[in-house]
């Protein structure tokens, strides 16, 4: 069991800055994020894009902002549970929250701060009838272990780097048969990956189907075949053991929708006094919350985080008086 003072759900800019502000009050933080790295959408969607509205930075790349926030948080030794999704919460007899992730990791804290941004990133699922019936029965949205596909017939869909890289990897002596299905004739992956796929296709190691998409899935319990529709010559039924659609990630609100929080339009309602939700001890900050006049800006999330930790402190230590100390006077005293 991981014990902390403030359990932060979401390791984006807002969650990371919470670590710093909480640290000034000598509160410890632990962050959980469904993505395998910290930074949230700054790292996942647009690391190379400049941001122009961070005070004192006329321009800063989203990825660099995350690096600096990590550096700023480091003295306060935040813990991380990455690549796991916050799934369930309950309260123990001492009134602390027990939070369990989708992989079963347990965390305990008196305070939960939801800094979940857009929600958790999940694979985009193509709109094919009956697809859900074959999930884990031949349809996978992520390749975890390539050995799983040894000597199997595999169809991969998508035109990005992950589709290209896995098609190449599986075609080089792993899978029995690899088919790559893509909506266009151009690929957006790295040029050398595209060239490799073309080379493998020419040598017969990858069956390349462009201007094509998978439109049907068939089988009993396990996937047995898919139907590929091509622009040029219509429908093709392909026998296969696996279909791996790789269409990137999109954010979903996810399990927090079931935590009895008041939710409007995919956002958690909060009191702007301290960004508390309707559940005592649970706060929501950053893009995931909503209140009259809400603006989804990193800048506003930083402010919300700062006020929120003051309230969290008073909940944890109701008998202690809190005095705001300026970092210019006191410096930053690391743990």
């Amino acid at each position: 069991m991981i014990q902390t003072d403030i359990l932060i759900i979401g390791a984006g800019p807002c969650g990371l800055f919470t670590v710093f502000e909480a640290g000034l009050l000598k509160l410890r933080c632990h962050l959980i994020d469904a993505l395998p790295q910290a930074g949230g959408q700054c790292s996942e969607i647009y690391p190379k894009k400049p941001i122009y509205d961070i005070p004192a930075y006329p321009s800063i790349l989203a990825g660099d902002l995350v690096d600096k926030l990590m550096e700023q948080a480091a003295p306060f030794e935040p813990g991380f549970t990455l690549g796991e999704r916050a799934e369930e919460i309950e309260k123990d007899e001492e009134g602390q929250f027990i939070l369990t992730t989708n992989r079963g990791t347990k965390h305990r804290a008196p305070i939960i701060a939801i800094a979940g941004g857009l929600g958790c990133f999940e694979p985009r699922k193509p709109p094919v009838d009956g697809l859900a019936n074959f999930e884990d029965h031949g349809v996978e949205y992520i390749i975890k272990d390539p050995e799983f596909y040894r000597d199997k017939k595999v169809i991969i869909s998508g035109g990005g780097d992950s589709a290209l890289d896995w098609a190449i990897f599986l075609a080089e002596g792993v899978a029995k048969e690899v088919t790559l299905v893509h909506r266009r004739t151009e690929f957006r992956g790295h040029l050398d990956s595209v060239q490799k796929v073309m080379d493998h296709a020419a040598a017969g190691r990858i069956r390349l189907m462009t201007n094509a998409e998978v439109v049907e899935v068939h089988g009993d319990t396990d996937l047995q075949s898919v139907v590929v529709k091509t622009k040029e010559d219509g429908m093709h039924t392909l026998a296969t053991d696996h279909w791996v659609p790789l269409f990137g990630l999109s954010p979903k609100l996810g399990p927090i929708a079931d935590w009895n929080l008041n939710i409007t339009k995919n956002a958690v309602e909060v009191d702007t006094f301290d960004y508390s939700t309707n559940v005592p001890g649970i706060y929501a900050i950053g893009d995931i919350n909503t209140y009259p006049g809400k603006l989804k800006l990193i800048l506003c999330g930083f402010h919300e985080a700062t006020l929120m930790v003051q309230s969290a402190f008073k909940r944890i230590y109701p008998d202690k008086n809190l005095v705001l100390k300026y970092t210019t006077v006191n410096g930053v005293n690391a743990f």
């Binding site: 969607i45 647009y46 985009r124 699922k125 709109p127 990005g160 266009r184 957006r188 269409f247 999109s250």
Partner: protein
């Protein structure tokens, strides 16, 4: 009205919305739909980095060519047709008066 164009948006239920699109505020179709509280997420904020503002252009207006970024994102979208565009990449301009678009279905 000066600096205002008429735009029709067909929502996912088939209902037609007549909107006034200002051409002097640097707005795009994703933002126009959001400001009219139509169900367009605009998750990435308009960087052509998600496909939540996917829409079909139904009028004969000639729009600027798709950028590579827009093409790449449409690769990850579903229900893509020849007239598919990302709303955030359609910038409101006077020559788009009378533009008609239809919101694409949302996937899972």
């Amino acid at each position: 009205m000066e600096n205002t164009i008429r735009i029709q948006v067909v929502d996912r239920e088939g209902q037609v919305h007549d909107l006034d699109g200002p051409t002097d505020m640097g707005m795009n179709m994703m933002e126009l739909c959001r400001s009219a509280e139509l169900p367009v997420e605009g998750t990435c904020g308009g960087m052509a980095m998600c496909a939540s503002c996917h829409m079909y252009v139904e009028s004969g207006h000639s729009l600027p060519e798709k950028s590579d970024d827009e093409e790449d994102m449409l690769d990850e979208a579903f229900f893509v047709e020849d007239n598919s565009r990302l709303g955030c990449q359609i910038h409101l301009a006077n020559d788009l008066d009378g533009l008609k678009v239809k919101l694409a279905p949302v996937g899972n």
